[in-house]
């Protein structure tokens, strides 16, 4: 479904990603692990069209993502939940969801109302907070809203950037079980970028490990979890 081939991305004079190659199948959950500054966020931003790629190819559902505008990529069914959530603090919860409405939302059965109902079933808190402004939500609720906003666009795949960042352990737990629930219900694939390796390894089918803009290791999650180098570097064994 998503295949990235030797993708190179950079800002100004700095090259950040070097020949990144990875694949995410239909309905698959793939985690990208790596320390701060490894290029994980840059990878997702390049895939969703926020920054241009310098070389290489990225194909999603038979279309090339390289050079495509962000709003077209959302329309093709690839949604991005950015780092730091980036919800709209001055809009109500409902208005946040309305902004994310696309042609795909309306094409799906039940349209926008059904999309909101499904998102609120996954995150009942959002239903209680419907008319509240974004800034008044807690960190966990904001993350829920960010994921719900991605779901409203009826994606085939979601790019999740550090969904655990700045959340209490209990909330992180719920977040990841909801991620599994989303896959079960909607059959969407996910590319999850995480520093919280333990959580990511629990939900992912396959894992890539990034260091300084390169993929240095890949494999099934349970295998990578047992890799002694990974245990040392990311799991604090």
């Amino acid at each position: 479904m998503l295949s990235v081939d030797k993708l190179c991305v950079g800002y100004g004079e700095a090259d950040v990603l070097h020949d990144v190659t990875l694949r995410v199948g239909e309905g698959e959950i793939v985690a990208v692990l790596g320390a701060n500054g490894a290029g994980k966020t840059t990878l997702l931003a390049a895939l969703s069209g926020l920054i241009p790629a310098r070389a290489g190819e990225a194909m999603f559902d038979g279309r090339s993502l390289v050079g495509a505008a962000a709003e077209r990529i959302v329309g093709w069914g690839l949604s991005h939940v950015p780092q730091g959530r980036r919800i709209f603090p001055g809009l109500s919860v409902m208005e946040n969801l309305v902004v994310a409405r696309t042609a795909a939302t309306d094409r799906a059965e039940g349209g926008f109302a059904a999309a909101v109902a499904e998102a609120e079933e996954l995150f009942p808190r959002l239903n209680e907070r419907r008319d509240q402004l974004g800034w008044s939500l807690s960190g966990g609720e904001q993350q829920m809203l960010a994921v719900a906003r991605a779901l409203v666009a009826r994606p085939k795949m979601i790019l999740l950037d550090e969904p655990s960042l700045g959340l209490a352990p209990m909330i992180v737990e719920t977040m990841f079980s909801t991620i599994l629930e989303i896959r079960r219900r909607e059959k969407v694939g996910m590319l999850v970028v995480e520093q919280n390796a333990e959580q990511a390894l629990r939900v992912a089918d396959r894992v890539y490990v990034m260091e300084l803009g390169r993929i240095v290791l890949e494999g099934p999650a349970d295998e990578v979890a047992r890799d002694p180098a990974i245990e040392r570097a990311y799991l604090g064994a």
């Binding site: 962000a70 709003e71 950015p82 980036r86 603090p89 001055g90 809009l91 309305v98 902004v99 974004g134």
Partner: protein, 323 residues
């Protein structure tokens, strides 16, 4: 905040008060102040679309106001066009220049954008001053007639007041409507989080150009109305000081609200009149007011009023629970 019924009542009362105001404004001088307040309310309402709704801080907005004023004056006086053609051309020309100013906004953000728009505004003002054959340069442009539409003259103060009020009501109705549409939400989404808007599939480039363009059209119309009301314009009037006044109108009134810029404009235009007894020291009071607003009313008078209403409602809610 969602009391839609209350909102209609509020606007109906405000409109009634505005319609009745000429009864209280007994002399031409007071009427003149009211004219200016209405024009600046329209200008500030448009500026608020950019500053309050979309979060783009432009210091070049007064230049668009000047372009509107000069375009209309030149067309009507020099080329003998009717007033409506002058207003229309002012709107179109200012709108186009606004779109041009928007181009750098797609590349740069924050303070850099503010500085660049400041420079562009000054360039436009200097151009107006140096194009003497068209604009009469720093002597100023005089002899601009009061509006006349299909033979109906708005030469007298009271008819002119209603014409300006009509323009303001149209502008406010437009902003009120757009706030509830996808464009209104897109403006605020870009203001709140540009990355968030982008990943939601909002075409942030288009949204910014649209915000600049629409607010420039407001500035153009307001400029034309200003020229035909004051009947004399000069490049010195459209200087940086006026930009700051415009900014203060939106900030003190409450940015991002529909009523805020109107309240701010009325206040800042009429305040110097009320404070006439302190003479030039009113500028000190002005400074104090802005300073106090920044500390006590970060969301302006409109925001403070909304909070006050909310507090009262919740007190009432608690009281009714007890009984």
């Amino acid at each position: 905040m969602r009391g839609a019924g209350n909102r209609y009542v509020f606007w109906a009362v405000a409109l009634a008060a505005a319609l009745a105001a000429p009864l209280a404004l007994t002399n031409n001088y007071q009427l003149g102040v009211a004219h200016q307040a209405l024009i600046f309310a329209l200008l500030a309402t448009g500026y608020n679309l950019l500053l309050g709704f979309t979060g783009l801080v432009s210091f070049g907005h007064i230049a668009l106001f000047a372009i509107g004023a000069y375009a209309s004056a030149i067309l009507v006086v020099t080329f003998g066009a009717p007033f409506l053609v002058g207003v229309g051309a002012a709107a179109i020309i200012a709108g186009l220049v606004g779109v041009v100013i928007a181009m750098p906004a797609l590349r740069i953000k924050g303070h850099y954008l503010t500085l660049l728009t400041l420079a562009l505004g000054e360039v436009i003002r200097l151009l107006i001053r140096s194009m003497e054959s068209l604009t009469h340069g720093s002597q100023g442009f005089s002899g601009i007639p009061r509006p006349e539409i299909f033979g109906m003259s708005f030469r007298a103060g009271v008819p002119l007041y209603y014409l300006l009020l009509f323009a303001l009501v149209l502008g406010v109705a437009f902003v009120w409507r757009i706030e509830a549409t996808r464009y209104g939400r897109a403006f605020k989404a870009v203001r709140d989080s540009e990355i968030g808007a982008e990943v939601c599939g909002v075409r942030t480039d288009h949204v910014k150009v649209l915000a600049f363009g629409v607010s420039a059209v407001f500035a153009g119309v307001a400029g034309s109305l200003y020229a035909h009301t004051m009947r004399f314009i000069s490049p010195e009037f459209f200087s940086l000081g006026l930009t700051i006044t415009l900014l203060a109108m939106v900030l003190i009134g409450g940015r991002g609200t529909v009523i805020g810029p109107i309240v701010g404009a009325i206040l800042l235009i009429s305040l110097p009149e009320w404070l006439r007894f302190v003479k030039d020291y009113y500028l000190i009071l002005f400074g104090l007011a802005i300073w106090l607003c920044a500390i006590a009313l970060p969301d302006g008078l409109a925001g403070a009023a909304a909070r006050l209403l909310q507090a009262r409602n919740s007190v009432r809610g608690r009281a009714s629970l007890r009984t």
